[in-house]
């Protein structure tokens, strides 16, 4: 019997090529005459370059070129679809962060380039850097995203609230660290540039590179069929990518530039640290009357970083009085950038920790507090949700976790020498869908090739789009081939904001419909076709055939193409972002998270024993890959909660722990079994009913763990990561 092709957890369509080592990542690109580039980065965080001595490097064996600000070509300040690019590299003597590019060395081999890079001697006139979020000398940017807002009168409501909490929370700098060091292989043929790049958006990087280099977009092709992860660090067009293209043009040969792991700390963004103050007022019976959230975050001196930390405080709970404000503090650190659930990950920790504190003030179950303050519409705009099954997430999560077994008193539950804590948190994520195009080609053998420039950074996009296209064309999954990760294909947005599934899915929906329409056009006057004269709404697709809904008569794609002597038929389709200003607002996914932690009573060692997530992600296209997204995000959230902390030396601005030995991410032994349950129905905003689930795993995880740590130990930790010394 037929099984639905969408929803089922089929194996990843690209899994076999990955387990065999045959998937080609940017760093695997090999071209005739390939030269190797290595970056030299600054060793001061602020000041000016007084000299860059390249004599020894230039004379070193195999060296083809050394570029510095004194001989690099002029580059333009450009924009891509996401906004302004980071400042272009090697354009002045000004240094604004430690690890800023000061030279790029190109040589015949990687070893020669690495050796020669050591021989570049930069001299600086340094000035004292500002690196601390609390530094009184730092420049502040208020309302940097134009997103400050709220409703009612928070000040008055707080003044009269019978119960109040006011707390300050801090989160550390985290660094994305995909396992694949970012790499660019650039080659010029005349004026045509081809770039293999670790990007989450080939179309977007093409725009960014063309703008920076001052060349037509049509002359630039960006390829990223596979990348070694990104988690947001591949969203922007970074200086090292630009430098690889500049170096290739300079030496007249293809050039490969691969960042070192240390350079991954300074070159492709990070999650900025925050200091957040949350004030909540409530009635004695646990009705929230006021939420006030002010979030301070760091940003680099010369760059922008849209990172809306207080977003969820504006929409999360049914409070009549809300105020949420963001402030950026300019410091001498590398450009930040999106890291999985940017802003939301930090903001949720503060808000959901404060709610837990309020629950204890009220002597009310934290789950019950959230249920009592469920927002059945947007609390600021009054808009209806397109769909919101957060309450079902709470119910299912609590049931699967066994929340009712929790004794609410701190330090009340033990297991041997371990203090046991149960904690929970709720979370939302925003809705995102961007303009996207796709192309469907049905061939005479009855198969289809579906193409879009968007890429799969490991999320499962190849797989879920294959399933979706199969469903929309009435073909078995094995007869559909997705082609992606190439800017010469129909333009697609970045894989970001958990928005690519909705964006590309909507585009494929449109392209599939246009394909059927094109077939019907072909047989419009075809006396031999049972479909003659049918309109697209008169038919459905199944088993490789188009059939009339009324009488079930139809014929296959192959039959039509054969009779009309065509090898293939192609149609394109596109979709735009939905309006946010309707009475019903497009609504992103929700989740409830329940964590059990074990804390060694003597040593303070904290381990997550289990974590249950119940998530409303709309229609789930592939149960296996969607679960992978939630589990993977949760692993990142555990790292954020307990391990990850990019440490910047206050005096020098140098990142002090720039290795995988010192910057701790979760390893296999840190991760227990993680349960994920999908609840709720499809969302009506997109034709495919999806919401996007790529980032939902992170926000809520740290708060659930921190709340569990309080329950276990009686110690409230308001600073991430939670470390042993904070609970002893």
């Amino acid at each position: 019997m037929d099984r639905p092709v969408v929803g089922e957890g089929i194996d990843r369509v690209d899994a076999r090529v990955k387990v065999s080592g045959r998937a080609t990542y940017p760093t695997d690109a090999d071209l005739p005459g390939l030269a190797h580039a290595v970056l030299v980065q600054s060793t001061v965080a602020a000041g000016r370059l007084t000299a860059v001595d390249t004599t020894a490097a230039t004379a070193a064996p195999g060296v083809l070129a050394v570029l510095t600000h004194e001989n690099a070509p002029p580059l333009r300040e450009a924009r891509d679809r996401l906004g302004p690019l980071p400042p272009p590299p090697l354009q002045s003597d000004r240094i604004v962060h430690h690890g800023e590019n000061v030279a790029v060395v190109v040589a015949e081999t990687f070893e020669q380039a690495t050796e020669a890079a050591r021989l570049v001697t930069a001299r600086y006139a340094p000035s004292p850097p500002v690196v601390d979020i609390d530094d009184p000398g730092a420049e502040h940017v208020r309302d940097p995203f134009g997103s400050d807002g709220g409703t009612g009168d928070v000040g008055a409501a707080l003044a009269t609230a019978p119960v109040r909490v006011e707390r300050t929370y801090r989160t550390a700098v985290n660094t994305n660290h995909p396992m694949g060091p970012f790499a660019t292989v650039a080659s010029w043929e005349g004026d045509k540039l081809t770039v293999h790049d670790s990007t989450q958006g080939p179309s977007n990087t093409r725009i960014g590179l063309a703008g920076t280099l001052g060349v037509p977009q049509d002359d630039v092709r960006v390829l990223a069929p596979y990348i070694g992860g990104g988690f947001g660090s591949g969203l922007r067009t970074w200086p090292h990518t630009v430098l690889a293209t500049v170096a290739a043009r300079h030496v007249g040969r293809p050039v490969k530039l691969v960042l070192t792991r240390k350079q991954m700390f300074t070159s492709v963004g990070h999650r900025p640290d925050t200091r957040q103050t949350v004030r909540i007022g409530a009635t004695r019976d646990g009705r929230i009357t006021a939420i006030d959230h002010e979030a301070w975050q760091t940003v680099s001196i010369r760059d922008v970083n849209p990172e809306h930390v207080t977003r969820a405080s504006l929409s999360g709970y049914a409070s009549p009085n809300i105020s949420a404000r963001d402030v950026q503090v300019r410091v001498n650190v590398p450009s930040p950038g999106s890291m999985r659930a940017p802003g939301d990950a930090q903001g949720n920790f503060a808000l959901e920790s404060a709610l837990d504190e309020l629950a204890y003030e009220l002597d009310l179950d934290p789950l019950e507090l959230r249920l009592r303050n469920y927002a059945d519409r947007h609390p600021v705009t009054g808009q209806q949700w397109s769909s919101n099954d957060l309450r079902a997430c709470y119910r299912t999560g609590a049931e699967r976790f066994g929340w009712s077994r929790r004794d609410p008193r701190p330090r009340s539950m033990r297991r041997g020498r371990h203090l046991v804590g149960y904690g929970m948190a709720g979370t939302s994520f925003f809705f995102a869908q961007f303009a996207c195009a796709a192309r469907v080609t049905v061939t005479r053998d009855g198969g289809a090739v579906v193409a879009s420039a968007g890429m799969d950074l490991g999320t499962g996009t190849y797989t879920v789009m294959t399933q979706l296209a199969a469903e929309l064309l009435g073909l078995p999954v094995r007869r559909v081939r997705m082609v992606m990760g190439d800017s010469s294909l129909p333009e697609a947005p970045v894989a970001g904001g958990s928005g690519l599934t909705g964006s590309m899915g909507s585009a494929i929906h449109a392209a599939a419909r246009n394909t059927v329409r094109a077939f019907l056009d072909l047989v419009r006057d075809d006396a031999g076709s049972p479909l003659r004269g049918a309109a697209v709404d008169d038919v459905r697709v199944e088993h490789g055939r188009i059939v009339r809904v009324d009488d079930g008569r139809g014929e296959s794609y192959a039959e039509i193409l054969t009779r009309h002597r065509q090898d293939e038929l192609t149609a394109e389709g596109s979709a735009e972002a939905p309006s946010e200003d309707e009475p019903v607002v497009p609504t992103g996914p929700y989740a409830a998270k329940f964590a059990e932690v074990h804390v060694d009573a003597d040593l303070g060692v904290i381990r997550v024993a289990r974590l249950v997530t119940a998530a409303h992600c709309g229609r789930v296209l592939n149960e296996k890959t969607a679960r992978g997204q939630l589990v993977g995000g949760t692993v990142g959230g555990i790292g954020m909660a307990l391990l990850e902390h990019t440490v910047t030396e206050p005096r020098t601005g140098r990142i002090a722990n720039g290795t995988f030995g010192d910057y701790l991410i979760a390893v296999n032994a840190d991760i227990p079994d993680l349960e994920v349950h999908f609840v709720g129905g499809p969302d009506p905003t997109t034709p495919n009913g999806t919401k996007g689930c790529g980032e939902l795993g992170i926000p809520g995880t740290a708060a659930a763990i921190a709340n569990a740590v309080f329950h276990a130990t009686g110690t409230r930790v308001r600073r991430l990561p939670i470390t042993i010394e904070q609970v002893l």
Binding site: G9, A56, Q112, G180, F660, L674
Partner: protein, 176 residues
């Protein structure tokens, strides 16, 4: 601070050493391979750039992530911390050598079935570690698997599925 600072990794005027190349003979995935390498070339770069076996990945080049794990004389090693010249005469097995007559290794199949990967970049290292782990008899329990697989980082967070894949193959005993 005296108002100026030099990037003092080498003394000014220092020269790069001349390149020294040495012949190396390796038995890679059952085939005799000869190549000439810079003495500074790691086994990882020799495999990738010299022999075009790019299935093995560079994640950190510092021996801290496990992405470059290969087998040398049947033992798992970090190929980024192994100089190619020091592997002269050794037997090297990489991800490309796991298939036998076109049939994937049971662990490769299990990684597919259990979705033990996302971006796939760490996957070769994970699988090479897992093969050795089972051969070493270190996959007796989930906790043991987690502990002995903790040298292989996965930033996508596929750890629970990696454990499931290894558990299945270790329990089945057909991993030879």
């Amino acid at each position: 601070m005296d108002g100026s600072a030099a990037q003092a990794r080498v003394s000014p005027g220092q020269r790069a050493p001349a390149v020294v190349r040495v012949p190396v003979s390796l038995r890679v995935n059952g085939s005799e391979r000869r190549l000439e390498v810079d003495t500074r070339t790691t086994l990882l770069d020799a495999l990738r750039d010299g022999l075009k076996l790019t299935g093995t990945k560079k994640g950190c080049d510092q021996g801290q992530c496990g992405a470059c794990t290969v087998h040398v004389d049947g033992r798992r090693v970090l190929s980024c911390l192994t100089l190619a010249a020091s592997a002269d005469g050794r037997e090297v097995r990489t991800i490309e050598g796991l298939e036998q007559d076109g049939t994937p290794h049971p662990l490769q199949e299990a990684f597919v079935r259990h979705d033990g990967l996302q971006c796939g970049y760490c996957t070769a290292g994970q699988i090479m570690s897992a093969v050795a782990l089972i051969e070493e008899g270190r996959a007796g329990s989930d906790d043991e698997i987690r502990e002995f697989m903790s040298g292989n980082l996965c930033r996508c967070g596929a750890y629970p599925n990696i454990v499931a894949a290894i558990r299945e193959v270790a329990g089945r005993g057909d991993h030879a």
